[in-house]
């Protein structure tokens, strides 16, 4: 009886741990899917394209944070779609707006080939220290926004030059 009880308790504990791990894994996968949910958007002229946020990376700089957003673009049109990079705007909880960088490594235009896919395009934003204290959204098209960070403050302490990448909105 004593041995059986031990077995039951051990089995239950193992089952509980397995369920907890499974639930956490499911939650993480669900969060990643939620971040990468495709949005069908259109240019100012009305051309459709599909955009997905793949990953976000945040890094510390001397003056604030550097926010890097990796995106996937899909062009269902039989012609090339070209959108200016600074059309993508990050907005923080204080309604501060940040344009995507268009100098250095970042070309001014994002070009999507006809009926083609741009697997990974990086958008770079230099944001203020206070920008990550709340939710952060990214304008991905005309009147279309994607939430890239939830409203919980980002509390991880980063040194200058230190980056962390996420595939979820909860940082």
């Amino acid at each position: 009886m004593k041995g059986r009880a031990k077995l039951v308790i051990g089995g239950s504990t193992a089952a509980l741990v397995a369920v907890a791990v499974g639930a956490t894994a499911w939650l993480r996968v669900h969060e990643a899917e939620e971040l990468s949910r495709p949005s069908q958007v259109h240019t100012e002229e009305g051309t459709n394209y599909v955009v997905r946020v793949l990953e976000t990376t945040v890094g510390k700089t001397e003056g604030g944070y550097l926010l890097l957003v990796a995106m996937r673009f899909e062009n269902p049109n039989p012609y090339e779609v070209v959108i200016p990079r600074d059309w993508f705007v990050v907005v923080d909880h204080n309604n501060n707006r940040y344009l995507a960088s268009t100098t250095g490594t970042q070309a001014a235009l994002v070009k999507m080939p006809p009926d083609g896919i741009v697997e990974k395009e990086l958008l770079s934003f230099a944001v203020r220290d206070t920008a990550l204290e709340g939710a952060v959204e990214l304008k991905v098209g005309k009147d279309r926004w994607a939430m890239i960070k939830d409203d919980k403050p980002f509390e991880q302490r980063l040194n200058s030059g230190e980056f962390v990448s996420f595939r979820r909105r909860r940082w």
Partner: protein, 201 residues
Amino acid sequence: MWKRIKFYAVSAVIIALAVAALYYRFFPQREAVVRRVVDAPAILQQVQQLAELVTVKYSIQKVVGLKEEKVPFGSESVLLMVQATVLGGIDLASIRAEDISVSDSNRVTIKLPPPMIMHVFINDQDTKVWDREKTWWTPWVGFNPELEQKARVDALESIQVAAQDMGILSNAQQNAETTIRGFLQTVGIESISFEPSRTAH
């Protein structure tokens, strides 16, 4: 007879010299005045010849660490020592005719395009991976072969921001003005002023 001829000859030379002296005294030879016509299209053409004017170069060394969170569990990180070069300058090819004005007194005013970071590149020979690890309790998670490349891209962005914080753009603007002023002075344009950039960058 010879004495008379000598007298007339000497007198003629003296009179000729005196006349010449008087002529040059009262009718000095006018210097050839070359009036340079300063017109905006000519200046535009000359300034545009400078094309992409790189005026400042920063060498920046930075330690960059990237931690990638895996889905559903674990993480992987890499630490890089990065040496990069940032070039700042002005794209003079984008200057337009209306950006150059010439006043009546031949004073040239140029409205320059905003300074920008033209190139950022990593010096591969001086860039080293210091450390690379992943969470020990996720042995099933393999090393991401792209992580180092991702860290390099992050480093480039970070270095670009660092260069801006260090004042590369204002430095590029000042150097561009000095270079253009020197260049135009060699073609005879003395009075040059610059107006603030068309748009802030």
